[in-house]
Symmetry: C2
Subunit: 392 residues, 2 copies
């Protein structure tokens, strides 16, 4: 690599992001990203850290002291949660009803834990009775579940029932709220969730890079009394506590700009989180009505429909990838294919944060209708658009 490569100006296409994330970023958040930096130990940054922590508490609906952005994308916050709470010798119970339970399992095993599963079909939520049975059989120390499963578009209902079972068995509960935080009702304290993590690029509509994590005192007691150190230095919460806690000691250089952006994204949430949940319900409801009005079928059962991530079954004879490519090429519009067991069977259409707007939904439905028309699918675009606009 002797000569310097010739690389031109940064001119990415102007996409409308309706996939499983990232979602469209609010202009105020983009603007915050170009703010000149202060140092990560600057007194003014300490103040910003406090503000972000308070805003995160509000968004998680928690009073947890240990509420921080982890310096990485959502999977970093996920690994911080699992890698610190699960100690070698612990047993973690994980779900098998979606893609992200497998990731939990892999992280728990790498942390030195044993993994047991509670089964449910892909596209269905966990049944509390099955969770109870798994507890009876395996006595796990930690129970992880996915509140909003991005691979299936399923929202886990009855969270307090699940946490009650875990607590009756002296286990800690870790909730994956990557695709729910800030878009779908989530109440960490009221629902008895011990640890929750999320990503910023979903319903918070913030560029990825600093990811929400919260732990209650029970979880932190376990983390701080581990017999062996966490296996990651970078994600060791007992060390991060030195920086985000009272001491403000140097651990690693925080991603300052990403923290700026998260602050701005959370200020938008702080306009009123319940209204924000309602907006997601309303706008995604119009999207769902439009999709169904066209004659397409949702993958997730109505009772467990996840507004922030809509899974739509690919009609017979239609090439899912060709539709995705057509939307990208002709409409600069991103949706995604199925993941894991549902690859080829569904499309995943996000409706998150700044993408959860009527502008985006009406554009998506019109474009999707045309893309399916190109594929010769027997759908009724007009009926879909009419069903959508009734909800607007």
């Amino acid at each position: 690599m002797d000569a310097a490569p010739t690389v031109g100006e940064l001119t990415p296409p102007d996409r409308t992001l309706m996939g499983p994330g990232p979602s469209d970023v609010h202009p105020r958040v983009l603007k915050a990203m170009s703010t000149p930096l202060v140092g990560h130990l600057d007194p003014s940054f300490i103040e910003i850290m406090d503000e972000v922590q308070n805003l995160l508490r509000y968004t998680f609906r928690t009073d947890n002291k240990w509420t921080i952005p982890v310096s990485g994308t959502g999977s970093a916050a996920m690994e911080a949660a699992i890698g610190n709470v699960v100690e070698p010798g612990d047993t973690m119970l994980v779900p098998t009803n979606g893609y992200f339970g497998d990731r939990m399992a892999s992280m728990a095993e790498r942390a030195g834990g044993e993994v047991v599963t509670v089964d449910a079909p892909w596209g269905q939520p966990l049944d509390p009775a099955a969770v109870e049975a798994a507890f009876d059989e395996h006595s796990p120390d930690v129970f992880g579940f996915v509140h909003a499963e991005t691979s299936t578009g399923v929202l886990q209902p009855s969270v307090p029932e699940l946490t009650d079972i875990a607590h009756a068995n002296d286990a800690l509960v870790i909730a994956d709220s990557v695709t729910s935080l800030g878009g779908v009702e989530l109440r960490v304290d009221e629902w008895g969730i011990d640890v929750a993590y999320s990503g910023p690029q979903k319903c918070l509509s913030c560029p990825p890079g600093a990811s929400p994590l919260t732990l209650n005192d029970d979880a932190m007691d376990k983390v701080l009394s581990r017999e062996s150190e966490a296996r990651s230095w970078y994600l060791d919460i007992s060390l991060l506590e030195g920086y985000w806690g009272d001491e403000r000691a140097y651990h690693h250089t925080a991603p300052i700009t990403n923290v700026y952006a998260l602050r701005e994204a959370l200020r938008l949430v702080a306009k009123g989180i319940e209204e924000r949940w309602d907006r997601h319900l309303r706008v995604a409801g119009a999207l769902k009505a439009g999709v169904e009005g066209m004659g397409l079928e949702m993958n997730a059962p109505d009772d467990f429909w996840l507004p922030s991530l809509n899974t739509v079954r690919v009609p017979d004879g239609v090439d899912d990838g060709a539709v995705i490519q057509y939307l990208l090429d002709e409409y600069d519009l991103e949706i995604a294919s199925g993941l894991g067991a549902l690859e080829g069977d569904i499309w995943r259409i996000g409706c998150m944060g700044h993408s959860a707007r009527r502008q985006n939904v009406s554009y998506l439905l019109a474009a999707l209708g045309n893309a399916l028309g190109e594929q010769g699918a027997a759908i009724d675009v007009d009926a879909g658009l009419a069903a959508m606009s009734e909800r607007f």
Copy 2:
């Protein structure tokens, strides 16, 4: 946390950053940060990934295929290097002549490795004879050294001698180039470095969040033939390879905006890396001349002076923290205190990337002179400024 916290507009102070990082970010890089996002699997982003990888190869002076930005700050790239290359049962040799050798040790232990040390006083580089002796005694599998030690301001000379010793003993070499990449001569291939990692917020003048890492084929062979999985899922290079390599498979959502920024920062490097090294030498040389001309003493010996990070001894009777606070309060100027064993004894003054400019150095010297005057230190500011301007 029922009520939404009241958090105002983001208005951090307008700092001049002359500490150990972050450095001042180039306006073009800040602007890139506010570019709207595309998806992390978008074809246009794949192209950007290729460009960033090529630019990183140019900057590292390497042809290594496995050259990527890790999704986190510099310590994430550090842990990706150590946590993947060191397997349980391996022995890693680390230095004791600065703060970051300890961090290497902690990461190697958490990876399941045994740690042995090669000693040198804080403020001195490693002596090849001592490295050779440590190899004879311990037969380590991996040898880590710090090319540019941010805690002491010492540049490790004679890198090829060190790598020759390691290779003669069939060990892999990991180089910490956090404070050298893009600012100080570093030639990964020519010098026989197997793995190098860095941070973006030092000599690359990019906000932290996506951090350079390169591995040659020998190192990747070891990583890909590990008996046990790496202990971090997030930083597992064999999985990252699926995303950054030919397959382009989803692993985690890349920090898109940080990759945009790194691309722009590296485009500035690609104007000519040797000129950039020269500029750092020249501008930091003026800083050093100015500091010494005032009557202050550098901590690092002249032969091992690190242009990007200048350590200055605190004169007797002067309160190091008061000077730092005065510069921050009166000049919006950041420098840093000593770290670890040198806390209280030195100041650390960065001269990196966009901060390695005459504007910054003349401002720093004038302000530092006034701050020391406030403290009643016997220094000759005019002589310092004259010595500086001779080098301009």
